[in-house]
Symmetry: C2
Subunit: 238 residues, 2 copies
Amino acid sequence: MTLILDLDNGYFCRKVLDSRSRFKAVATRRCHKPHDHGGTCNEFPFLDGFRSPYPKVAEKIERDSIMTTGAAWKSEEAGPNRILRWVMLLNDEELKKYEIDMTKLKPQVVAKLREKAADYDSCVRVAMWLAYLAYQMRDAPLPPEDIRRYLQDTFGQMTSGFTTCAVCLLPLSFNLFGEARRGKASIETCHKDPRLHSPANVGFAHRECNIAQGPKSVEEFYDWIIGIIRRARPEILR
Amino acid sequence: MTLILDLDNGYFCRKVLDSRSRFKAVATRRCHKPHDHGGTCNEFPFLDGFRSPYPKVAEKIERDSIMTTGAAWKSEEAGPNRILRWVMLLNDEELKKYEIDMTKLKPQVVAKLREKAADYDSCVRVAMWLAYLAYQMRDAPLPPEDIRRYLQDTFGQMTSGFTTCAVCLLPLSFNLFGEARRGKASIETCHKDPRLHSPANVGFAHRECNIAQGPKSVEEFYDWIIGIIRRARPEILR
């Protein structure tokens, strides 16, 4: 059973936010403070506890939740390197209005971009979930009281050390957000099934684990490595 | 027990080849035809069976045997993207004579280049071994008779289908040399221990396997994935 969090369940404000984005007609971006909040609306209030002193963690969660990853570079052939996931729900004809010509991209780039398409509400749910996971990492800062309550109201009791790598299942330390090897962050957002952008399917993973998983789902990855062990070290399997 | 093939064992010609390389003072390149050959000397005669109609296989074996892999790009910071492995045996001072300034490169780039250093004879042995493995892949062309004899004299009886991926241990098809996904070849040269360039340590691997192995040795990779299975699917282990 998969429970999908209904963002219109009365808990969240959901007031429409002003937008100057050229994509504003594609999706209506909304406030996700509690419905009875006073003051300014805020799309991702649950990230505010990270914005200082961990602005990169807040930026990473927001970016990975709402943007596709494309090629590391941007070019005519490789396509845009980051684009809003819900924009990738538009068909080729509609995308042309935004000067995105999918027919100019290599088929594998198109496939990769389309695979990462997700509607706006799914992206918001993923952002909330990643914030919830980040606070439950070893060595994580304690959330401000209002954010703790907000995330627990949404996803349930939080426990320090609960968050493990989605691939290798070892506990993840919040300190990994600050580490980088060979210029690459040590922690990545991971999709257990690369084609699904939902809280149940998204987590954090060590960079090396995410690389080893490759385009496989985590379950396919486990099946694959069991096959390898069956040949390389058969004596340890039942 | 590791047997190291002695290239001066009398089987090979070993006549010094003319060279116009700027690195010719670093290593003496030699002929590896049988000692009693008539005609022109040849450094890699065992690759000639591939040169037509599989020139890319011959080029790949030669390149991976004698050149380092560096960054995919060449720059002041990333260093040369391919350089002769034996040149990387020179110290920083000697390298400056060749306008290679290791102090300008990032430490991780230096480490990666130095890790790939190997003497000339080791590189030739690896090239021979890779040719021997390639001919024993599923769907491989049959070697010309003189090359079959040459490789069998050197490494022993050849068997079609003998060559497996050095990581996942599944049989490799020669056809994978011609395949590419997302612009990347499907088969890669693989070092079971990334720091050793010798026949016993070098083989071919699926690209996905080589990527999953990462900077680990194959044995470390097996230990690592056993740990993952122990957490993800404990019931299948003894």
